[in-house]
Amino acid sequence: MILFKQLVALTGSLALLLVVACGGNAAATPIPVAPVTTAAEQPPVSDAAIRVNLGGEPNSLDPQRASSLLEFSVLRQLSQGLLGFDENLMLTGLVAAVVPTVENGGISADGLTYTFKLRPGVSWSDGQPLTAGDFEYTFKRILSPEMAGPYSELFSAIQGGQEYMMSAEADEAAQASLREALGISAVSSDTLVIDLAAPNPTFLQKVALVAAFPVRQDVIEKYGAAWTEAGNHVGNGPYVLSEWVHQDHITLEANPNYWGEAPKQARIQLSMITDVNAELTAYKAGDLDIARVPPGTEAGILADPTLGKQVLPSSQLSSLALFLNTTGEAFGDPIVRQAIATAIDRDSWTEKVKNGVGESATGWLPPGLPGYDPNVGSEYRFDAEKAKALMADAGYPGGEGFPEFTLTYVAAGDQGIMAQFLQAQLSENLGIEMGLDPLDPPSYGQQVIGGRQFDMTLLGWSADYPDPENFLAGLFSSESFLDITGYASDEFDRLAALAAVELDQETRIGLWRQAHQVMISDAPIAPLMFVERYYLKSPEVQGLTLTGIDGEIPGDTRLAEVYLSPEPRVLER
């Protein structure tokens, strides 16, 4: 017997098929695409909420202000930008119907003009249609000096962007005219055109960032800074912000006006447990469905008969290395730096100390990133004899006469243990003594990153966007404010400058590959490892897709596809 509900659904899908078969033109009247599932298609789901820990309170849920992984995780559920990344980290169209390319006319031949056509039928969570005008407002807001967004600099390639960003001290009229002069315009309700001041081959990847998620002008003007509170917030993603109790939890519920497929689980509950061990306790008590494995406990958890089966490894586009101050006394000589790189037994760290979490690295670009090459830096594979010989060549046989130096690092996570490990390695394999200087993040930021007052430091880098430019340009170009090591190589700068404007992706990646090789040979850094995180996932959670750009929550780019099977997890007693 067919139920009425199934009949309606069936009719709906037949009507849809008819429309699609008749080849509806995207530029014609938008046809609302209603998500259609029949009772037969739906997997059995429980109506419970997916419970995950965010790890803390988001400092801001304003996309143009968001800068931390946990903010990204929440925002990815509440909103979507023009573009996104699929599970292979290839660009894909979200609100934009297709990714603009030179072939489809989305990018002009000179690479200076980008045209985005919006998908028809996308609306905000309050029912208002989402237009190109919203995106025009958003992109202009990213560059606004008033917003001072952390990722605003990435969009400064837009025509007029630099001037507008620097106009904080100018009067209102001047600022308004600079804003008008920006190369961003919504030429129709579904077409956005962006003009760049210079070719920027990674521009589309930046458009896929959380910073470019759309916002509603009238909502912001009405509520001011409180527009992100639950009840005021308006987004265009699969979920809406139904509750935000500050410092305590966030509840997300399915967005009834979402253009795509409705989320399989209608609710997500995000807690704000700041202590990793308390999070693990909550998971064991059955209060969380996904939890992080605290660093250092991996061996115990893997050995546990119940928990060991629930471990979920996640590789992120994340590298860790020793950055050496090439302008300092101790590490000015490249041969010394090469000796350091060769003197570290990375495998014993990864296997013995980290219990297999992570991968030893002799290069800086992590696996999964375009341009990754497993053979780069092979000359730095651990070889104590070779390291000693290099040190002797540099004029410090057996480490004698080597100046005193210190390892500066952030006292968090297992950095402390790693620092001690490195201290032991260098003492044992090279005969040089290293001092340790742990700092808290703001002091570290000011001293090391801002002031280059260090000899050697432990630094990790995670991808903002999945491109080698993000890992190399900022950190190693001699003119960059982030060139912490003081590395200055004409060859590297030359390759980087060519890659910065090369529109052919293959050639461009090839250039970055070469630049990477040049940098590794000069050894301003001693690569250590590619970072991995372990999570615990309850067997009830199905359909989780991890990617290299996940934020704090694993699989946060596709949480709408996750569902909970109705059989509850057996808790250990």
Binding site: A168, A226, H246, S271, A278, A285, G445
Partner: protein, 305 residues
């Protein structure tokens, strides 16, 4: 006494002024600012941020603005909490801390004082040693270990109580218990020694000679006269509990104000730091005043002019 109370309250103003100034100076003397992180922002963005929060004004101008707004009761805005007013951030976190502190306080006093009295009454007996041993344990073991020791059986093993969070009466039990143990230990110890001291007095011996039961002697005569040191410690503990506790609130994920100041310092959130410190100064001053007024109520020999 009213005049005394008003005088003390008026003294609060120069105290707050001093506290605010010292905090302001220290905050700006510490290395690292609100925008310094392990992945620093581009210089242009930092310049724009400093402009937005008036951090590019000379320090004395910033100090003047801070004093001006503090005098109007405006504690500033928090950079790390969506630019919300510090007053509002505190107001939202305060209920959780107050409930937790209130319950912990009641447990600490309600269990600590009788425990101390009984230990003194039955000096050198099994009860005395047991209570002293417990007090020593609770005072020495760090509170987060006590917290975890409570969570493991009640939450993880037997699933009787939640392991953390807030929102229902069952969420309050474990953190309040964990929080109360240290104050309870101190209160019990002080009560015991104070009671013992008073027990040496002649009038106590008279009461015992009259045939009053020992427990009655202790609770009715001795305790009342031993209250001054006990009130002192209770006042100090009340102040400590009200300002929230970072450790318990972190271990049990309680959304109170205890976590706020430490988080603010770690992130160099100038607005939140000064706002919270001024708030704490007010709380401690008021609690000290109440404690001093209680002395007068408890001991008729104490008079304020």
């Amino acid at each position: 006494m009213l005049k005394y109370a008003v005088q003390r309250l008026l003294w609060m103003i120069p105290v707050l002024f001093g506290v605010g100034t010292i905090t302001f100076v220290l905050m700006h003397a510490v290395p690292g600012g609100p925008w310094d992180k392990t992945k620093n922002l581009p210089p242009q963005v930092v310049a724009n941020l400093n402009h937005r929060y008036d951090l590019d004004d000379p320090l004395w101008v910033q100090y003047g603005k801070f004093l001006g707004s503090a005098a109007r009761g405006d504690l500033g805005i928090s950079y790390t909490n969506q630019d919300r007013d510090v007053t509002e951030v505190i107001r939202q976190g305060l209920p959780a801390t107050m409930i937790l502190a209130g319950l912990a306080f009641l447990i600490a006093v309600g269990a600590g004082v009788p425990l101390g009295v009984m230990a003194a009454a039955r000096q050198n007996s099994a009860i005395d040693f047991a209570s002293i041993a417990l007090a020593t344990v609770f005072a020495s073991v760090p509170s987060f270990i006590l917290g975890i020791l409570l969570v493991l059986p009640f939450s993880v093993a037997w699933h009787l109580l939640p392991s953390g969070g807030w929102g229902s009466p069952s969420h309050v039990v474990l953190p309040a218990l964990a929080l109360s143990l240290l104050p309870m230990a101190f209160i019990a110890r002080i009560t015991r020694s104070s009671v013992l001291e008073v027990s040496e007095q002649d009038y106590v011996r008279t009461a015992q000679a009259k045939g009053m039961r020992p427990l009655v002697v202790h609770f009715r005569h001795v305790l009342r006269n031993a209250l001054v040191p006990i009130v002192t410690i209770i006042g100090a503990e009340a102040g400590a509990l009200l300002t929230g506790t970072f450790i318990i609130e972190t271990v049990f994920s309680v959304p109170g104000i205890g976590r706020l100041l430490v988080q603010g310092i770690m992130q160099r959130d100038y607005g939140l730091i000064t706002g919270m410190v001024l708030f704490y100064a007010v709380v401690i001053t008021v609690v000290n005043l109440i404690t001093d007024l209680l002395y007068a109520a408890v001991d008729p020999r104490i008079r304020y002019s």
